[in-house]
Symmetry: C3
Amino acid sequence: MSTNSSTMPMTPPNELFNLDNPVFCCYLFWATVLVVKMLLMSLLTAVQRFRFKIFPNQEDLFFKNTEVQFNDPHVERVRRAHRNDMENILPYFIMALIYISTNPDATVSCNLFRVASLARIVHTLVYAVYPVPQPSRIIAFGCMLLITFYMAAVVALRTLSFV
Amino acid sequence: MSTNSSTMPMTPPNELFNLDNPVFCCYLFWATVLVVKMLLMSLLTAVQRFRFKIFPNQEDLFFKNTEVQFNDPHVERVRRAHRNDMENILPYFIMALIYISTNPDATVSCNLFRVASLARIVHTLVYAVYPVPQPSRIIAFGCMLLITFYMAAVVALRTLSFV
Amino acid sequence: MSTNSSTMPMTPPNELFNLDNPVFCCYLFWATVLVVKMLLMSLLTAVQRFRFKIFPNQEDLFFKNTEVQFNDPHVERVRRAHRNDMENILPYFIMALIYISTNPDATVSCNLFRVASLARIVHTLVYAVYPVPQPSRIIAFGCMLLITFYMAAVVALRTLSFV
């Protein structure tokens, strides 16, 4: 709880958010991977829309003899996966960023970033790219969820007196 | 507009994002509460799905004699509340974080964090947990909205010359 | 790759996230504009709901002789635009924020913030306010997408050793 300046003399608490802090650098790398992964979901949705000619707006009808259509299972599956990303990865971005301000142990925190990010990549693969029987998706989903809850517990305990 | 170093000599502007700044600590605590609240919406959706056996994917059919189903009112109500959270809380996370960089008054900013967070907890209770007649939900929704607009005004006025 | 302290002596890397850094100030201003723009989408959805009397919850039926209704094209168009905002602007907020930690060139980064933000305002206008034939929306969408990818490439290359 109070390992700030004793265990990591190189990065005092007021310089945690810069490139000299390996924990912050590790966060930067894996947050970037997840941002790119999320944006690729938009492109994957577009691919499915063109493949099955399912467009939700009148001005998007690029092909002759098509009409505005909704609820195509191939498109909706990718959109559900994308929405699940927003529900989980976006809060994680903030949670992990503020978790760094507690100056956590470098090995623990870097491995949490790695596992959480890889779990979400697996989640996308088994949900949107190639559907796989459960509980593969539940496990991938649970990894980041539990890691975010752990970070939340660390931050909340450190800042409980500011309630 | 230029109260940075004169009114709060203990936290000069270059050390606002660390645990020595009580405003940042208060943000950390309440942002953590909201992250946990948002993630619990995923679990609440899962509870409703299992309770009413409404699953949107073929691989999720854990029970015999069930089919893929959508648009169940009990599930959709929780999903609408969750989407409303994403629409409002996620921009608030960024807005409140960058608002701290303007070195706001500690009492004002901490109370804004508290009111905004508690309002969103009330919003979830009256929307997704136990539906209550309006305007309870509109008021809870408006609290965080107005607070975010206020923070936006403060930040925009301070940084207007960088347009 | 290593232009930290030589090109910008006024803002050493450990003081990037404060109001002395013009790049951070420019981010603050345009992030604030985008937060306000996103929140206005909620109000635009509400306007459409009242105009066409389309309410998704029993407790929202403010008018006599109305019933719970979904899938109205006027409301759904605004909601799709809003969801697209969440899919693109929220990851951009994090990406642009951590991109600042690499101490990018002030002219380049400020102009990226400006173009990305203005492109999303155009996106909203041609999607939700006054539908315009394609490819206007695709171009507006692509601007922020490419800028976010560029920032991701810069950050990933700088932090690649922390994989």
